[in-house]
């Protein structure tokens, strides 16, 4: 029982961060319908950005070892959003949006090749610039825990850094849902996703909406990456490990659903942690995909797949 609750708690903590990570990708896919293979590598850049902001840019001396990492992580978001904005402007916009709307397959082949190319450049560029030594954003909070309970002789230990990671993820998620559902920008993003042609008739610049979504998606995933980096060491090829999980989360949540992507990521976090109760740790990822296939078998449209459309 104690082991179960402990795994459940750990799953919820990591699941919230996975959820945020998936939402970044889900936003890009939902609005642009572009499959971005480089998204894991954007996250890797976010991790290194947070790392260098903390160690080299003076955040550590300004905010200390406990708060400093989280300040750097939150700052890495806007940095990667700006980076994503320019990558979209310089590269992605040439193979997506209104330029390819009338082409066969809407330019998906070019998108696959381009984002794979960007992924390779970021991975190997990262290797040249950052080196292959494992890095991590350590805080004293990473190695201490809060004790919950005891309730009926059972105590649950919550890692402090992971708990704060979860709180930051949830706050980001709430802010993002408010942005998407309540603001004019958010609504125009959804309109552009629903029907780009009709959105153009409304006076919405669809390419600009795509750029906004791409920048936002990169920024959000960068923050999620930074949060993961407080507990997991990283290297320039770390994106590969996460991009599969991101796609599994987006598909589980329902392609195109932004809130769904969060629950998809949460599910993956829970399955990953709970599987350690019955399976050896090496099989964590195998368990994720076994459950993934099972869910997709019974609910092919994902948790929040679009049910409202009508022809």
């Amino acid at each position: 029982m104690e082991g179960f609750l402990q795994a459940l708690a750990a799953g919820l903590l990591i699941g919230a961060v996975y959820g945020l990570m998936c939402v970044g990708l889900g936003l890009i896919f939902g609005v642009m319908r572009v499959i971005n293979f480089a998204h894991g590598d954007f996250m890797m850049l976010g991790m290194y950005t947070a790392f260098y902001l903390f160690t080299a840019a003076g955040v550590q001396s300004l905010f200390g070892n406990a708060v400093g990492p989280f300040v750097s992580i939150l700052l890495a978001g806007p940095v990667l959003a700006v980076f994503g904005y320019f990558v979209h402007r310089a590269l992605i916009s040439h193979v997506s949006g209104t330029r390819t709307a009338s082409l066969e397959g809407e330019g998906h082949y070019a998108q696959l090749i381009l984002t794979l190319g960007i992924a390779l450049i970021l991975q190997n560029g990262g290797l040249i610039v950052f080196g292959s030594v494992l890095a991590s954003i350590r805080t004293p909070l990473s190695s201490s825990a809060w004790e919950l309970g005891p309730f009926f002789d059972i105590s649950i230990f919550l890692n402090k850094a992971r708990s704060i990671d979860m709180i930051v993820s949830l706050i980001m998620m709430i802010l993002l849902s408010l942005l998407i559902t309540r603001t004019r920008i958010g609504k125009s993003l959804r309109a552009a996703a629903d029907n780009p042609t009709a959105a153009t008739y409304m006076g919405i610049d669809v390419d600009r909406a795509h750029r906004t979504a791409f920048a936002l998606g990169c920024g959000i995933t960068a923050i999620a990456g930074g949060l993961l980096a407080t507990n997991y060491p990283f290297h320039p090829f770390v994106g590969l490990e996460y991009v599969i999980v991101m796609y599994a989360g987006v598909v589980l949540g329902g392609m195109g659903s932004i809130i769904g992507a969060f629950w998809g990521g949460m599910t993956i976090g829970l399955v990953q942690q709970m599987s350690t109760l019955i399976l050896p740790t090496q099989l964590q990822n195998a368990a994720i995909f076994a459950v993934f296939l099972l869910i997709i078998f019974f609910r092919p449209q994902g948790f929040f797949g679009r049910m409202v459309e009508r022809t």
Partner: protein, 235 residues
């Protein structure tokens, strides 16, 4: 207000519009009628910038429209109610109307516009929080019209508002359009296959066949024309 001169357009190598000239004066209700595949929707898409013309000119209130990027054209005061309604299915009725009001004038007049739209099309008020994708075709058509009106347009372009609707629903929508026009004096450009209704409501009409304007004139002239009577009115 809207002047189209010698316009030609098409997809790839296949021309759809050939040397079309159409004139819509301020306050006029102009109907363009013709059979399927005559190029009516392509004409509207060219005005909105989704299709690039191969020749000719379009001016709107003296502005060279072809030099204006497509998303900016709505901001000049052109509202396009597209063929097949094309509402935003995962947005609510209210959010759809808000998307219509993305233009500066739409934002400025939001309160008065929304009251008038709800008065003209009460079903939208009843269903304001419903997802647009879950509504019936007729309701979606009314939403598409309301969404167009929400931008405070100078010109309302309607692409086959009766398409795919039950005859009684289509009649109701025509009746609403005439009422909206009577109360607002809005300039309207209508494309329709239901020729009798379209010509009845409009001041001026054009008959489009295989990409050519084959006939134009005011309401009475067209309805008196032998070819129109035989081919479209079944008389």
């Amino acid at each position: 207000m809207l002047r189209i001169e010698g316009l030609s357009a098409g997809y790839s190598a296949k021309p759809v519009l050939n040397d079309i000239s159409i004139n819509v004066g301020a306050g006029e209700f102009v109907a363009i009628v013709g059979p399927n595949g005559a190029g009516k929707t392509t004409l509207f898409k060219t005005i909105s910038g989704i299709v690039k013309p191969s020749g000719g000119a379009i001016t709107f209130e003296g502005v060279d429209l072809l030099a204006v990027p497509p998303p900016q054209r709505a901001h000049l005061g052109i509202a396009h109610v597209p063929e097949g309604r094309q509402v935003f299915p995962s947005l609510t009725v209210m959010e759809n109307l808000e998307m219509g009001a993305m233009t500066e004038s739409g934002r400025r007049d939001w309160q008065t516009n929304i009251e008038r739209i709800f008065e003209w099309l009460p079903v939208l008020k009843e269903r304001r929080d419903q997802f647009a994708g879950t509504m019936s075709g007729g309701q979606q058509q009314m939403l598409a019209i309301g969404r167009g009106l929400a931008s405070s347009p100078k010109l309302l372009m309607l692409d086959e508002p009766s398409m795919g609707l039950a005859p009684s629903t289509a009649d109701f929508i025509f009746e609403r359009l005439i009422e909206i026009r009577r109360q607002s004096g809005l300039t309207m450009l209508l494309v329709e296959q239901r020729v009798a209704e379209a010509l009845e409501s409009a001041d001026h009409g054009y008959v489009l066949e295989a990409g050519h304007v084959v006939l134009e004139g005011n309401n009475d002239t067209l309805r008196a024309d032998d070819r129109v009577r035989k081919a479209y009115l079944g008389m």
